[in-house]
């Protein structure tokens, strides 16, 4: 009899197609990691009618470490999950810090400039140590006034000869219609600007132009994943319809700067919308950034490329210690922390490929104990990874030759004390307790009586924002 029932059930499963679950994809695309969360579409959109506006558990979450694979390949895996779980993707919401991976690079390598004589290559005048936003060989300077079509065509050829891939141009001051027309006809994306603008505004246009290639590729990868289903990306304090932006070239040309700030802007507004915490400084501690976000209005952003115009209600500051600063033995054989962070490409030891220990490796015990985080790193052998990290730190400890030596455990405590002191200083300015976010916030939050001692997930925050929005 039992065998019969089982057979019938099996038959039923085979013959009836499984009912798909309507889902919202909540996606965070960071500098080095991607977080995917699927939530029940009906639960979130029905928040208005529900008394309980608590966040439902995600149907599925997954973290991916970016340096291990490309964004395209991660999105292919997400598609596979959608098919396997029989999800029906209704909407996608994205918060991004992906463009922050550009922060150590010069930009504008394939951006030409047509500029009035006397203003050539002047964008990093504000701070000569800042990274360049211009390719000097693609700058054409001319006296203001009419330019013949023939001359403009020669300029196009000159640019293409230097860099055949160059397809963007910033045109300063020249108002004549044929200027834009000729470059547009030759396939250039045009950005207009004026030399009389404040340098921070000029830099903003150059940034938008310099990042537009990466942005185009980024948007195209996302839309390939979401396949024409409604897709929104957070910037400028709101969700922006990605399909609509793609169809508006003028808006598309202006969104690189706000898109760069998407993650911090989202965190700020999420906090702002919480009635209990109107004016708190908030701290974000994750794999890439240890920072404080303050409710202080700002007109510009002191970027690695110089001051860039960006009006916001917040300012962000990095804490004095960064997660990817290297732990090393210095010239006096003392254990030290490097001044600069190592690149994202090799990443920390806990990511499995590095040859350099960094600050977050000191917290490997705590990080590898978090199942979600460990899964992201994706090491097949946790014990081997742990041994490798421990032996690397042992080697560093043994490398010390000075009379007073420090253990890596003491160094870790010192870093914790330093970060916690900074948190208490900045938190004090507004209220007595601190608001924390980020998947490594739990490393420092317990002593501070923070509300969130669990591992933080961006996807949960995105869903929480959607519920808040639906309930308004």
């Amino acid at each position: 009899m039992a065998q019969l029932i089982m057979t019938q059930a099996l038959k039923q499963e085979i013959s009836t197609p499984a009912i798909s679950t309507q889902v919202i994809l909540s996606l965070f695309i960071g500098e080095t990691y991607v977080e995917v969360g699927f939530f029940d579409y009906n639960y979130i959109t029905d928040a208005k009618s529900k008394k309980n506006k608590q966040l439902s558990k995600a149907l599925f979450t997954q973290l991916y470490y970016l340096p291990h694979q490309s964004l395209k390949s991660i999105f292919a895996q997400v598609k596979k999950i959608i098919a396997e779980k029989n999800f029906e993707l209704n909407e996608t919401y994205i918060v991004s810090r992906y463009l922050e991976r550009l922060q150590n690079f010069r930009l504008g390598g394939s951006v030409a400039q047509l500029i009035s004589a006397g203003f050539e290559n002047s964008t990093h005048f504000g701070n000569s140590l800042s990274l360049s936003l211009a390719n000097p060989s693609l700058i054409i300077s001319k006296n203001l006034g009419a330019i013949s079509d023939e001359d403009l065509q020669k300029d196009v050829e000159h640019i293409k000869k230097i860099n055949p891939d160059c397809d963007k141009i910033i045109i300063y001051d020249f108002q004549e219609t044929n200027v834009n027309e000729i470059f547009a006809k030759n396939g250039f994306q045009i950005f207009n600007c004026s030399t009389s603008d404040p340098s921070a505004k000029v830099r903003k246009t150059m940034f938008n132009a310099g990042v537009s290639g990466t942005q185009k590729e980024f948007f195209s990868d996302i839309l390939e994943l979401t396949q024409n289903t409604p897709t929104a990306i957070w910037f400028d304090g709101k969700w922006n319809d990605l399909i609509e932006i793609q169809s508006l070239p003028e808006q598309l040309a202006k969104c690189a700067m706000p898109l760069y700030m998407s993650g911090v802007d989202f965190l700020f507004h999420l906090n702002k919308s919480t009635p209990d915490h109107p004016k708190r400084a908030q701290f974000h501690i994750d794999f890439d950034n240890w920072e404080v976000i303050k409710q202080i209005k700002s007109k510009s952003w002191k970027s690695p490329w110089g001051e860039i115009q960006f009006e916001s209600e917040f300012t962000k500051e990095t804490l004095s210690i960064s997660p990817r600063q290297e732990i090393l033995i210095d010239e006096t054989s003392r254990l030290q922390i490097s001044k600069n962070s190592i690149s994202t490409e090799t990443g920390p030891f806990i990511a499995g490929r590095s040859v350099k220990s960094v600050v977050i490796d000191l917290f490997s015990d705590e990080i590898l104990n978090q199942p979600g985080l460990y899964k992201m790193i994706g090491s097949p052998d946790l014990a081997a990874l742990n041994t490798k990290i421990k032996s690397q730190f042992k080697a560093l400890e043994n490398g010390q030759k000075s009379e007073i030596q420090i253990s890596c455990k003491e160094l870790k405590n010192l870093i914790s004390d330093s970060v916690q002191t900074r948190i208490s200083f900045d938190g004090f300015e507004s209220v007595n307790s601190s608001l924390m976010s980020g998947n490594l916030a739990f490393l420092f939050s317990s002593k501070l009586n923070s509300e969130n001692n669990d591992c933080y997930f961006w996807s949960n925050s995105i869903a929480q924002q959607l519920i808040h929005r639906a309930s308004l």
Partner: protein
């Protein structure tokens, strides 16, 4: 934070975090020793803070959470726009910081500001009423008071830094580090003489590992007597300290053991040892002494023949622009700009550029003020550099001084980094 924590060289992280919200600032022990110091501003003021602290400690008994302010350029200060705050955290720990206050235009001798955390309203009222910028000053002092409130949140750290054992151990750590760093660099004895603005600057640096001698001696004997151009000893010493720290890689360890390791000879009443009533030449002379000691230090460690290492000064400027005719309380009315051989940092908040180029030969630019401004121009104008690094106001070369500019004036900059 454990109160019995034994310091290591990495305690610089804790000390730096403790002073994170202060700019140029130092911590002193109850005995008057320098525990930690930082100088992010272009004008370095560690020894100026030390002088202010010693002056206050000698004549006034500060209670915890009490503070004194001063800005007298002839008594430890640098210029009227820079205000020094001497704050008693507790009897074993003092904090001294200095902050640019563009709205100050009168000399303030050591004056009580805080009494057990409460502002001295009598003094502040007198100060505000004497100034046409009373609103700006009120906001400025309120921000400084806010900074001190943070200490209530860090009682553990304060207890640690105030502990005599911790202070002793930290000095020991820094002494050992200094000894190790000194070993990594060559010993030597280098002299240098340069002429600048009709003054002779003579510097000799002696670095030795002999135990009975102070490791580093810097001697300015033979330098001209002060006439028009001069600066106080603490201005020069602050600059020398910064260069020594950079040379030996001791950033984050500027404290008493380093001061003790240096013997400084500055002939009284010489160009490098006589304060100027307005501190007009402070930046210029600090930069000259920094450039000289840097050349000497590099030469000490160089294998090249000494006679081939002759170098002159290079031009460098630090100038501040201040909007006139404004009642704004924002610091935006005050913009700092810095030009050196390796760096240009300039804000265009107060200017419109008429020309702005960056070519192989460096920057060429011309600007006009958007509205009337005052320009406090400080720095070295080197004769050798005049073709490649210079500022011209209406075609006339600019040198250290204060300038009032209207919208018709034009400033031309040529600068090679």
């Amino acid at each position: 934070m454990k109160i019995n924590h034994t310091p290591s060289h990495l305690d610089r992280l804790l000390l730096a975090t403790f002073l994170n919200r202060f700019g140029n600032s130092s911590l002193f022990t109850g005995k008057g020793d320098l525990l930690f110091s930082q100088d992010p501003d272009p004008l370095k003021t560690t020894t100026s803070r030390l002088v202010c602290f010693q002056l206050v400690k000698k004549y006034l008994k500060l209670q915890p959470q009490s503070a004194v302010i001063c800005n007298d350029p002839q008594n430890g200060g640098t210029d009227l726009h820079r205000l020094f705050f001497i704050y008693c955290i507790n009897e074993n720990l003092y904090l001294v910081w200095d902050q640019t206050c563009p709205w100050l235009d009168l000399k303030i001798p050591p004056t009580p500001w805080l009494d057990k955390g409460v502002e001295n309203s009598f003094i502040l009222d007198a100060l505000f009423s004497a100034s046409k910028n009373s609103d700006q000053l009120k906001l400025f002092f309120s921000k400084q008071l806010q900074l001190t409130l943070n200490f209530k949140k860090t009682t553990d750290m304060i207890a640690l830094f105030s502990s005599e054992k911790y202070q002793r151990d930290w000095f020991k750590v820094c002494s050992q580090l200094l000894t190790d760093k000194l070993k990594l660099r060559a010993e030597g004895d280098v002299q240098k003489t340069i002429q600048y603005k009709n003054n002779t600057f003579k510097i000799r640096i002696l670095i030795t590992e002999k135990q009975q001698l102070v490791p580093i001696t810097i001697d300015f004997s033979g330098t001209s007597a002060a006439q028009e151009v001069s600066a106080a000893t603490h201005i020069v010493e602050s600059g020398l300290l910064v260069e020594l720290i950079k040379y030996y890689g001791l950033e984050g360890y500027l404290c008493q053991p380093l001061l003790n390791a240096m013997k400084l000879v500055l002939p009284p009443k010489s160009v490098v040892a006589k304060s100027h009533p307005e501190g007009l030449y402070n930046f210029e002379l600090q930069k000259i002494s920094r450039q000289l000691i840097k050349q000497c230090l590099v030469e000490t460690n160089s294998f090249q023949k000494k006679e081939t290492k002759k170098k002159s000064l290079y031009s460098t400027y630090f100038f501040t622009t201040k909007l006139l005719d404004t009642t704004s309380t924002e610091l935006e009315i005050f913009q700092n700009n810095y030009f050196s051989n390796s760096r240009v940092q300039m804000s265009d908040a107060h200017f419109n550029f008429v020309k702005l180029q960056n070519r192989d030969k460096g920057y060429l630019c011309t600007f006009k003020p958007r509205q009337p401004i005052e320009l406090f121009f400080r720095g070295i104008t080197s004769g050798d550099d005049q073709d490649v690094r210079c500022f011209k106001l209406n075609n006339k070369l600019m040198t250290t001084g204060n300038y009032s500019l209207t919208t018709d004036d034009s400033v031309e900059i040529t600068w090679v980094t």
